[in-house]
Amino acid sequence: MSKAVFEAIDICKSFDERKILKDVTFSLHKSEIMAIVGKSGCGKTTLLRILANLELPDSGELLFDGQPQKNPTPNIIFIQQDYNQLLPWKSVINNVAYPAIATKKYSKEDAFRRAKELLEKMDLAEFVDYYPRELSGGMKQRVAIARALIMEPKILLLDEPFGAVDRESREKVYGIIKKLCNEYGTAVLLVTHNLQEAKNVAKKIIYFEANTVKIITSAEFNKIIGV
C-alpha cells in the first residue's frame, strides 16, 4: 500500500473529566474513503475538528505527509454539519470560487471557470447566481462540498453532510466525491449516522463503541451490524 498521506497517532481528548477520545490511531491513504460511525455524542465531530486543527487534542500527534501538522491548512478541508456554513453575502458561484481566489490558488477567471464546472457536477448549474438563503439544506451542503473541492485538498473531512438529504441525491454526490477523489487523490473521512451508507461508501470504518475506537474493514463492520 502507498505511504499514508495522513496519520493520527494516540489522539486523546477529554471534556470536563469526561474522556471523549482515547488513543485514537489510524492512517489515511491517497484516494481512500474512511467512515466514522458511532452514537451521538461519542466524539465523532470532536475527532474531525481535531484532525482539521480547529481544536487541540490533549495529547497525540497528527502527521500530514509525514510532517507534524499543528495548524489548519487548506490541504485538509473540513465540511461542517451546519447547513449555514456558506457565506450568505456571496452568491453560490462566488462562494465556491472565493477560497481559490482569496488564497491565490487560481486566477479569478480560472477560479470561476472551475467553480462553474464543480457546480455543474453537483447538479447546481442553474443556481450559480442564487444566494445561500434561497437553497435547500442539501443544496447548501453540495455547494459547501464544491467550495471544498475547488481547493483540491489532500484530505476532505465531512461531518454528516447529508443528514436531511434524500437517498438518491446522497448517492449521486457520493459518486461525484468518489470520482473526484480518484481524480485528485483526495482522501475522505466521513462521519455518518447511516450505517448502510458507511458500508457502501468506505472500505475502512472507524467504529466508536463504549469509549473505545476500532478500525475495521467494511466486511468486519457487516458482522457488527448483523448483515
Binding site: 489548519p72 473540513f78 461542517q80 456554513q85 453575502w89 472565493y98 488564497t103 444566494y131 438563503r133 481547493m151
Partner: protein, 267 residues
C-alpha cells in the same frame, strides 16, 4: 394570474392610501387652523406659506448655506468618530483587559445626554465648530463601539473556522468575512449614532446660536425665532427632518435591502 396581480396592486394602493391618510388629515387641519384663524398665523403659518418660504430660502436665501455648513460639520465629525471607533475596537480585540475596562466606561458615558455635557464642552472647546464636533463624538463613539463589540462577540464561529481552514490572510478576513458578517451591527449602529449625532449637532447650533455663534441649521432656526419669522423656523425644521429621511432612504435602506436579500437581516 392577471386577476391575482390586479388584487395585489389594489392591496398595495389601499395600504399606500392608509399610510397617506394621517398626513392628509394633519395637512388639512393645519391649513384650516392657520387660514381660519384658529391659531394665530404668527405661531402657525399656513403650509402654503411655509412651502413657499422653504423653496425661496433654499434657492435664494441662507437656508441652503446653513444646511451645507451643518452637513459638513456632521461629515467631519462622523469621519473623526469612525477613525476613533476603529482604533478603540482594534485595541479591544488586541487587549482583553482593555475591552472590559472600555465597555464599563462606554456603558457609563453612553447614558449621559450630549446636552448635559454642553456646559463642560463650552468651557473646554468654546462655542465653535470644535465644540460641536466634540458633542457629535460623544453621541457617536460610545454607542457605535458598543454595537460593534457586541457584534464581534456574536460573530458566527463557523465563518471564523472557514477562514482558519483555508489560511485566509488578515486583509481578506476583514474585507470578505468580518465586515459583511458584522454589517447588520454596523448598519444598526450607524443608524442609531447618525440620528444621535444629527440631533446633537442641531441642538448645539441652537444653543451656540443663542450665545453668539453663527451658522448651521440650528442657528438658522434660532435666529428666525428671534426675528419672529415662523415660516423660516418651520422651513429649517422640515429640512432637518428631510435630511434624516434622505439619509435613511439613500444609505440605510439600500444596505438593509441587500442584507434582506442575503438573509442576514430579517423582514
Amino acid at each position: 394570474m392577471k386577476a391575482r396581480q390586479r388584487k395585489q396592486n389594489k392591496n398595495k394602493l389601499v395600504t399606500f392610501l392608509k399610510r397617506l391618510a394621517p398626513f392628509l388629515v394633519i395637512i388639512a387641519l393645519w391649513e384650516c387652523a392657520s387660514r381660519l384663524g384658529w391659531v394665530p398665523k404668527f405661531i402657525l403659518p399656513s403650509l402654503s406659506t411655509i412651502t413657499g418660504t422653504l423653496f425661496r430660502e433654499l434657492f435664494t436665501g441662507t437656508l441652503f448655506f446653513n444646511l451645507i455648513r451643518s452637513l459638513l460639520i456632521l461629515i467631519a465629525g462622523l469621519a473623526i468618530d469612525l477613525v476613533v471607533s476603529l482604533i478603540i475596537i482594534l485595541a479591544c480585540i488586541k487587549f482583553q483587559s482593555f475591552k472590559y475596562f472600555y465597555k464599563t466606561v462606554a456603558t457609563m458615558m453612553n447614558s449621559i445626554p450630549s446636552m448635559a455635557l454642553l456646559p463642560l464642552i463650552i468651557m473646554w472647546f468654546g462655542i465653535g465648530d470644535s465644540a460641536i464636533i466634540a458633542l457629535v463624538t460623544h453621541s457617536v463613539v460610545w454607542t457605535f463601539t458598543i454595537y460593534i463589540l457586541d457584534g464581534i462577540n456574536s460573530l458566527p464561529k463557523i465563518y471564523q473556522e472557514f477562514a482558519d481552514n483555508i489560511n485566509l490572510d488578515l486583509k481578506s478576513r476583514i474585507k470578505d468575512i468580518y465586515i459583511p458578517a458584522l454589517l447588520p451591527n454596523i448598519t444598526a449602529g450607524l443608524k442609531v449614532v447618525w440620528g444621535r449625532a444629527w440631533r446633537s449637532l442641531i441642538g448645539a447650533e441652537v444653543a451656540f446660536g443663542a450665545i453668539g455663534a453663527a451658522g448651521g441649521l440650528g442657528y438658522y432656526i434660532n435666529i428666525n425665532r428671534y426675528n419672529g419669522d415662523m415660516a423660516k423656523v418651520f422651513s429649517g425644521i422640515i429640512i432637518i427632518a428631510a435630511v434624516g429621511l434622505i439619509v435613511d432612504l439613500a444609505v440605510f435602506s439600500n444596505i438593509e435591502k441587500k442584507m434582506k436579500k442575503w438573509g442576514t437581516l430579517h423582514e
